[in-house]
Amino acid sequence: MATLAGAQTTPYAGANVWRAILEWLTTVDHKKIGIMYLWTAGAFGLVGMAFSLVMRTELAQTGTIISAETYNSIFTMHGSVMIFLFLLPVGAAFMNYSMPLQIGALDMAFPRINALSFWIFLFGGVLLTLSFAVEGGTASAGWTAYPPVTLDTGNNAEPPGAGMDMWLVGVILLGQASIFGSVNFLVTIFKMRAPGMTMWRLPLFTWTTLVTGLLILLSTPVLAAALVLGFIDRNGAGGAFFDPAAGGQPLLWQNLFWFYSHPAVYIMILPAMGIVSDVFGVFTRRPVFGYRSMVLALVAIGLLGFIVWAHHMFTTGGVFLPFFMGATFLIAVPTGVKMFNWIATMWRGSNIFPTAMLFSVGFLMLFLIGGITGVFHAAVPVDFALHDTYFVVGHFHYTMSIAATFGFLAGCYYWFPKMFGKFMNEGLGKLHFWLVFIGVNLVFFTQLLLGLDGMPRRINDYVDNPGWELMNMLITIGAFVSAAGMMVFLYNVFYSLKWGERAGSDPWEGTTLEWATTSPPPPHNFDSLPEIRSERPLFDLRFGEKLQDDPHYHVSNGHNGGGGAKTPSASAREEG
């Protein structure tokens, strides 16, 4: 392992393209795997965005440009790509890249399994996208794939073709990649922490990785089961799991699917929350307010996330409503705690606003809308009115397409110097932020209003009620403005890779351990580690002495805690 890792960053790597490619293909280095996740997921994200532009072009006016089949296939793939191939793997990218650095580890606990996760993910993603080429096209029943419209029941007028099977198998593979990844994250956090890195000193991003790992591990097997059952229903000799004509239960799929897919919402948003927590901690020069309550809120969100899945099914008539309504309302509490903690971190802070910070503030401002509109859906009678309308579309895009994505974009601007040794361009970054900020609000706030007025989702054409065509046109304009912003971002990435200003090992005055090594870090991550006496070892190093008179400034003196850090990375290095 050590020799492989050593070979990867030989200074001559760039000299021979084929050798460089081979190195990337065979790497087990968590940083390279993280970067590969990031590039791949970013590419899929662009594909997903292109799909959304096709949809918005179709919906800009009444009447149709593309066929209903094409539209259904596009909106299905938009959701599938954005969730399974963009948001989930982008989270995995940052967790792969940053978490081992943040805990002072040499690598992930199982580097080869880590590489395997990535390659399974890539294969699953390619399988999903290749379904455009098969007869009958891609899956076209939405990313939720509710049976029986996915099945050939004999009653279904247009049963989907092989694309549906490719979707099922592709998502099984992606789930497997997730499960491998989650075990890896958990073992790494539990066993690979540097001396002194106790659980209560983990950076918040690492905490979110831990909770996310648990969520993935506990929920994804349930999705895998549902997908296998669905595959048998489609291809076996009448599995009769979901086909009502054969005695099956269509609602069973929804229960299994959401038992995964509701926690999956948190699997997507928690890493983003971790990123903005770290970003606030750095650019305010303050400790993240209520560190322990942040962790408890995370755990609470994780736990509650497992008992609210049926709030996606309020209108099915097959759900015990009061329980799921109560549990769903409760999620507002830990989410609110996090919100107030973030604001309190900036309060009386010494705040600066580079692009990473702008996206984090944007995250707060707009995640709030996602959260409040979520409360509308928690109130069951109101959900009866709003379910399956554009209000839902607006709501979950405020949480996923805005909040989670803003968090990840903050992560890009924040960790880009660490990954590539260069800053991203700040001017372009600010242009990117404002274009996207204006664009997404135009899109998704308008969608909330459309939903209130009763426009259902997943339709390729609509009755021209007063204002609908105008609102749809505004949404389309907003979508193209956002897309223009993302083009600026794309340009910024390539521009900065080539001409970006050089960044030192710690360009942001970071607080966590990833900034205690070179940018980019060596294959073995650290040559030496600072003493870890709080969740902000680098902050202590830089400002500790100056703050000795501040009664609120605490670090534990002398002993290093050390609980749980049973495999110090220093000794691992020597062995390696």
Binding site: F376, P381, H552
Partner: protein
């Protein structure tokens, strides 16, 4: 110095200006698009309750939104780094504040839970047992709606039964009232009459039904009739005829919602509610309508290719008008038929007809032709096809490469022979409105092909 500049100089002023500008933009936006930040005006009692609850949630949401956004903007404008070596306070937590911002949201959501819970109880409440109720059996099917009503047949179940209704035999007090092609109803179950041999009536499960069924002797038997009206609105391409469900104002209406194939959802925006149509289940939605009028509605659960065109209209009439409509639509009880029918024996064929009309009738229903063309081919959303004059080969072509909005059927789904069976049955049923026009393109076809 203008007032604006003076205001911009203070942090509080800047905050006010930013939030004011955002509010103005919102107002201008909603004025421009005539969008409301409210649910539509309800036309039902249940909808009114939901709308009230919406405003409660909305008010709390807006207050929280303004307070929290103001806090965010305040800390962003107020606290900026002034010099490179500035070090802020390192206060890392405050127990009082943390308890407050855990406790207050908890209290708010607990209150919201109870308010929502009581509204939920209210809107899901069934009609009083002694209250007169209008029952509409809603069938969703790719991609149309059928709205069925029932009137008493005048007899009841003679023996208890508990069976899978795939095909079962039932005993009635007076089986002579049953005629071929009739759809019976017990509880929420629809049963299509297949045959009658002596006192035994053989029935088959129709769309509105559940997997397991149990009925005791004495259960009332109803006769189902299709009450779907249509209107030519052309609101959407390929949906020239919009099905209409007719209901009264003031009376509790029980919609029994079922699906013949995949998931659908019965959604009338002005009821402010929706309920999924789940195959294998019959689900109940209670609505008491308060206003007369036509209310645009559509399927809200994705159901395949033409999901967007699965629109319908709710027509709410005054009680008197509704009664007149109902009486007219229900018609008289069908003439009794003597002796046995159905079963092994074939229905009497028109001379020269080909195919097996009994099988054709079964196929007509199992393929869902009745949803668009009516239970006896009289035409609803789709054209009248009873006693069609279109030649068989043209009909087969229409199945394979449909003109207009019809669903395509491959030979795997229905063979040419089976189409001939359906064709034979259609020749045997009475054409209820002989003067009905054949749709334009089909008429051209007939002229072209003879």
């Amino acid at each position: 110095m203008t007032a604006f500049q003076r205001l911009w100089r203070t942090r509080f002023g800047r905050l006010t200006l930013v939030m004011g500008a955002a509010a103005l933009a919102l107002l201008a936006f909603s004025g421009l698009t005539s969008a409301q930040v409210a649910l539509p005006e309800a036309v039902s009692e249940q909808g009114d309750s939901i709308r009230t609850l919406y405003f409660i949630v909305f008010a709390i949401g807006v207050i929280v939104f303004i307070i929290v956004e103001a806090m965010i903007l305040w800390v962003v404008f107020r606290y900026k780094r002034k010099s490179d070596d500035e070090l802020p306070t390192q206060i890392g937590h405050n127990t009082t504040a943390e308890i407050l911002w855990t406790g207050i949201p908890t209290v708010i959501v607990v209150i919201l839970f109870f308010v929502s819970f009581f509204v939920l109880q209210d809107i899901q409440a069934a009609a009083d047992p002694d209250e007169e109720v209008t029952i509409v059996d809603v069938q969703g099917r790719q991609w149309a709606w059928a709205f069925n009503y029932a009137v008493p047949l005048g007899t009841e179940l003679a023996e208890s039964m508990s069976a899978d209704l795939a095909e079962t035999e039932i005993h009635l007090e007076d089986p002579s009232l049953v005629v071929p092609f009739m759809t019976l109803k017990m509880g929420v179950e629809h049963m299509r009459v297949v045959a009658r041999t002596g006192d035994v009536v053989t029935v088959e499960r129709a769309v509105n039904g559940t997997v397991a069924i149990r009925h005791s002797a004495g259960s009332e038997i109803m006769r189902v009739f299709n009450g779907t009206d249509t209107v030519a609105e052309g609101r959407l391409q390929a949906a020239d005829n919009t099905p209409i469900v007719t209901v009264p104002v003031g009376q509790m209406i029980r919609f029994n919602i079922a699906s013949a194939d995949v998931l659908h959802a019965f959604y009338t925006p002005q009821f402010l509610t929706k309920l999924d149509a789940v195959p294998g289940r019959v689900q109940t939605l209670w609505v008491r309508i308060t206003d007369t009028g036509d209310f645009q509605s559509q399927c809200a659960e994705f159901c395949g290719r033409d999901h967007a065109r699965m629109i319908y209209t709710v027509r709410a009439l005054s009680m008197a008008e509704y009664d007149a409509w109902f009486e007219d639509k229900a018609g008289d009880a069908p003439e009794p038929v003597e002796g046995d029918f159905g079963g092994e024996e074939e229905v009497e064929m028109e001379e020269g007809a080909i195919g097996n009309p009994a099988n054709g009738q079964n196929l007509f229903f199992s393929l869902g032709c009745n949803v668009c063309h009516g239970d006896s081919g009289e035409g609803l959303v789709g054209p009248t096809i009873a006693m069609t004059v279109v030649p068989l080969d043209r009909v087969i072509q229409q199945y394979r490469e449909p003109l207009e909005a019809m669903t395509e059927f491959t030979p795997d789904q229905v063979s040419d022979e089976e189409i001939a069976d359906i064709y034979a049955w259609l020749q045997s049923v009475e054409r209820p409105h002989p003067a009905d026009e054949i749709p334009s393109k089909l008429a051209e076809l007939i002229e072209a092909g003879g």
